[in-house]
């Protein structure tokens, strides 16, 4: 617990941004009539709230690459990194559960379970991908930029134009089978991203020499 508190203190303001967005989205969900804005809420959750799961995972390595800690911590940090990742993603999933429950309760047509599986899968993919990018490029800015570009492009083109994997849904046109498959694939993809992150974080030689 002390270590988590230390990481939070160390992140400073950056830790609170996802929480502020969570509160904002929750207030919107409570205040606005969900029946009229169902699809808007659904999209808002995906393109505004879900990508912030990468925010925390990316800032986990801020110390390593932006305060010249890599050479000192590299020998000890890899195991701790994955534990910290799990801790922060768990906090994010708790917030997600609250927002999904709010949306599900106010909308009779939406299934809370399906929605939670879908959005959790997106959280796992985006957060682990963000972590991998931050470690690979040794840069918080580059990885955040890449995530923002992906989300913005997906939103503008409604996930149609570019020939890369699309993780967002812009209509309620998914089936239980689709979500289950998406969930399983996401688990494997996230695991792969985390394994690569674990592998890369221990290697110093990428851009240094």
């Amino acid at each position: 617990m002390n270590q988590l508190k230390f990481e939070i203190k160390n992140m400073g303001f950056h830790f609170y941004l996802p929480i502020i967005v969570f509160l904002f989205v929750s207030i919107l969900l409570i205040m606005l009539p969900t029946e009229q804005y169902e699809i808007q809420f659904f999209i808002l959750l995906q393109v505004l709230f879900i990508p912030l799961s990468a925010w925390w995972s990316i800032f986990l390595v801020y110390e390593l690459y932006h305060h010249q800690a890599e050479e000192i911590l590299i020998q000890f940090y890899s195991h701790k990194l994955l534990i910290n990742y799990v801790k922060f993603v768990s906090i994010f999933l708790l917030m997600l559960l609250v927002t999904v429950t709010l949306l599900g309760v106010k909308s009779a047509e939406l299934n809370i379970g399906e929605l939670f599986i879908l959005l959790t899968s997106q959280v796992l993919v985006i957060s682990s991908f963000g972590l991998l990018l931050a470690i690979f490029f040794k840069s918080v800015e580059t990885s955040l930029m890449a995530i923002i570009m992906y989300v913005a492009t997906e939103l503008i083109t409604l996930g149609d134009l570019f020939p890369w994997p699309h993780i967002f849904y812009f209509a309620f046109n998914f089936t239980v089978e689709e979500i289950s498959t998406f969930g399983i694939v996401s688990l494997f993809v996230s695991a792969a991203f985390l394994i690569f992150s674990f592998f890369f974080v221990k290697r110093i030689e990428r851009h240094i020499i």
Binding site: Q68, F76, I209
Partner: protein
Amino acid sequence: MIQVRNLTKSYKYKKILSEATLNIEGIYGLIGPNGAGKTTLMRILAGLVSVNEGEILVESDKFQSKDLKSVRNNIGYLPQDFNMYPKATVFECLEHIAILKGLKDRKERRNRIEQVLEQVNLLEATKQKVHKLSGGMRKRLGIAQVFLTDPGILIIDEPTAGLDIFERIRFRNLLREISKDKTIIIFSHIVEDVEFLCTKLGIIKEGKVLAEGTPSEIAQTSSGLVWEIQAHPDHLPEIFKQYTVIDIKQQDYNLLDIRILSEQKPNKATPLKPTLIDGYLSIINGWGIEKDEPIKI
């Protein structure tokens, strides 16, 4: 004693280190110009980077190219900038690093932190935030985090870079104090630092070790090459073109004492006793040494 034998490291087809051989003991300084391969060699010694060829022997144990873990356990490494966890206090920072380094028992860990803080004279700054520490205090904090696990070998990059004169002297004295029972390897391009601190030096250029010896032995390599001439300030541009100027002292308004390095005796020059910087420059310039043979002193 650390023996580095024929270390070769290439990166993207470029040779960074070429058959580097060193015998490291006491307080050892490795100096060389920028791009000489110092950082790469330092990272190899710290167990952070693997090598293509060669071996490192620490005491009687042999560590070869990819066996990094075993090297790391006995080595403490302090990079040039220690600026970690700026929002944390000195104690929190050390406690976090101690946990990462595997000091699990809370009481034992806290005792150890107090011990190392006392050792580096930072006890009064325990509750101070890292970003509020002066450059010298941050360096000492860096040493403190290294001492948490009491390594036998200490690698320090540019020990006095960015420090003011008082902090520089204080940090140098601290290193002198802790060097009694440790091997300390200092990487620097500030010759005065290594002259003050080191008992033995290595000079590296373009990935090759050019010379190794005590500071006075290195200085002696420029014996017969160091001269002093007196000249009017107006003649300086011409002198710069002809000679390697090491130092200029204003004697009076119209006269300068100019210390130069030259293979030929300049006109009206008087010979001077060589210093480490003279030796270093003459070795770097390749004067008085065989091109492909490191000087064995």
